[in-house]
Amino acid sequence: MNLNAADYLLWVTGEILLVLACGVILKRRLVHEFPVFFAYTVFHVLRTVVLFTVQQRLSYADYFYAYWSTHVVSIALGFTVIHEIYCKVFQSYDAIQQLGGIVFGCVAAVLLVVSVLAAVSAPGIDTPGVVKAIVLLERSVRVMQCGLLMFLFLLSFYFGLSWRNHIFGIALGFGVFATIELVAIAVRAQIGAIANTAYSQVNSAAYSCGVLIWVCYLLAPKPAPQYMSMIHHDELEKWNQALLQLLER
C-alpha cells in the first residue's frame, strides 16, 4: 500500500487532534458526562496505532482486513455517540425527557429503509464484490448519520431547545465529517476506483475538520450563566438619581 506525504500529513493531523481531544476530555473531567464519546475517541487513537503498525510490518491484505474490521466497530460506536447526543439534548427537559431514545429509534429506522433503497439502486461500481459492499455500507452509514443529525438540529430548532456548548460541538463535528464524507463516497461510487486517492484525502481532511471542531468546543470556556433581568432601565435611572442625591447630602 503506497501512501504519499499528503496522505500521511492528513492522517497524522487528524490523530494528533484526536489525542488532544482525549486529553481535554480527561483534563476537564468530561468522561462521566460523555462516556460513549470518550470511548469513541480512545478507540480511534488505539485503532490508528494498530493500523499504523500493521501497515508498516504486515501485508496489504492484513492491513485491508484490519482496517475494515475495526471500521465496523467505529461505525457502531459512531451511532452510539449520536444516540448519546440525542439523550443529552432531551434529558434536561422533563416534558420530553423520554423522547430522545424513541425519536432516535424511529428516525434511525426510517433512514435505514432509505439507505437500503439507495444501496439497491446503486450505480454499477467498477470494483470487486467486497469493496463494492464496503462502499455501499459506508454510504448508507453516512446517509443515516447525516439524517439523524439533521433531524436533531431541525427538531431542536422547532422546539427551541438550547444545546450545551460541548454537546453542540460534538454534534457539529460529527455532522461536518458525515456530510463531507457522504459527498465524497457518493462521487467515489459514481466515478470508480480512479477516485480512490482523492476520496481517501477528502475523507481524512473531513475527519480532521470534525475533530478540530470537537477540540475547539471542548476547549472553549463554559459560557457565563445569563440570568433574566427584570430591572427596567427607567428604574435604574431612578435608583441612580436617588443615589446621587444621597451622595450630594
Binding site: 447525516c146 439524517g147 430548532f157 422547532y158 456530510t179 457518493a186 459514481q190 440570568y227 433574566m228 427596567h232
Partner: protein
C-alpha cells in the same frame, strides 16, 4: 447518476442545516423588558370560540351545507393563524424560561423549569393542531378535535405570570399582558 445527485443534494442540505444551526445558536436571548416586542398577541377567547365544537354544531345546524363549508374553512384558517401565534410565543417563552432556569434562586429556577415544560408541551400540541387544522380546511365537515392548545397556552401564560411575580412583582401584570 440520479442516486449520486440525490445523495449530494442531501449532504449539501445537511451542511446548510449545520451552518444555520451554528448561526441560530449565536442569536441573543430575548429580554424580559422587550418581551412585548418579540411576542404576538393572542385573543384566547376568540381562539377558543373558533375551535369550540358546540359553536361548530350550531353553525352546522343553521347554515346550508355549502355556506357552512366555506365559513368553516375561513374559521379554520383563522384558528391556524392563532395556533401559529401561540407556537411562536411558546418558542420565545421557552427561551425566557431557559435563561431563568439558571437563576441561583431555587424558587425562580423551579418556576422557570415549569414554564419551559409548559412551553414545550405547547409547541408539541401546536404541531399536531397545525396538521389537524390543515386537514379540516381540506375536509371542513370532518369532526376532528384540535386538542388542548388553548388550555396549554393558558398554562404557559400562568407560568410566565408566576415567574415574573417572583422576579419583579411590580411589573408582573405588564409582562403577562405581553402575550
Amino acid at each position: 447518476m440520479i442516486t449520486t445527485t440525490l445523495l449530494i443534494v442531501f449532504a449539501v442540505c445537511g451542511l446548510l442545516v449545520l451552518v444555520w444551526a451554528f448561526r441560530w445558536r449565536r442569536h441573543p436571548m430575548p429580554d424580559f423588558q422587550g418581551l412585548e416586542d418579540h411576542t404576538r398577541p393572542v385573543d384566547l377567547a376568540a381562539f377558543r370560540n373558533l375551535i369550540d365544537p358546540a359553536e361548530e354544531d350550531y353553525l352546522r345546524q343553521h347554515l346550508p351545507a355549502g355556506k357552512f363549508r366555506a365559513l368553516q374553512r375561513d374559521r379554520m384558517r383563522a384558528a391556524l393563524e392563532y395556533v401559529r401565534r401561540t407556537a411562536y410565543n411558546g418558542a420565545i417563552l421557552l427561551r425566557v424560561g431557559e435563561a431563568a432556569r439558571r437563576n441561583p434562586n431555587p424558587e425562580v429556577a423551579a418556576a422557570a423549569r415549569e414554564l419551559v415544560n409548559s412551553a414545550l408541551r405547547l409547541r408539541m400540541n401546536a404541531m399536531l393542531a397545525t396538521v389537524v387544522l390543515y386537514g379540516r380546511i381540506v375536509m371542513p365537515e370532518a369532526r376532528i378535535s384540535v386538542g388542548r392548545v388553548t388550555d396549554i397556552y393558558e398554562n404557559v401564560t400562568q407560568g410566565l405570570a408566576r415567574l415574573s411575580r417572583l422576579q419583579d412583582p411590580a411589573h408582573a401584570a405588564r409582562v403577562s399582558a405581553a402575550i
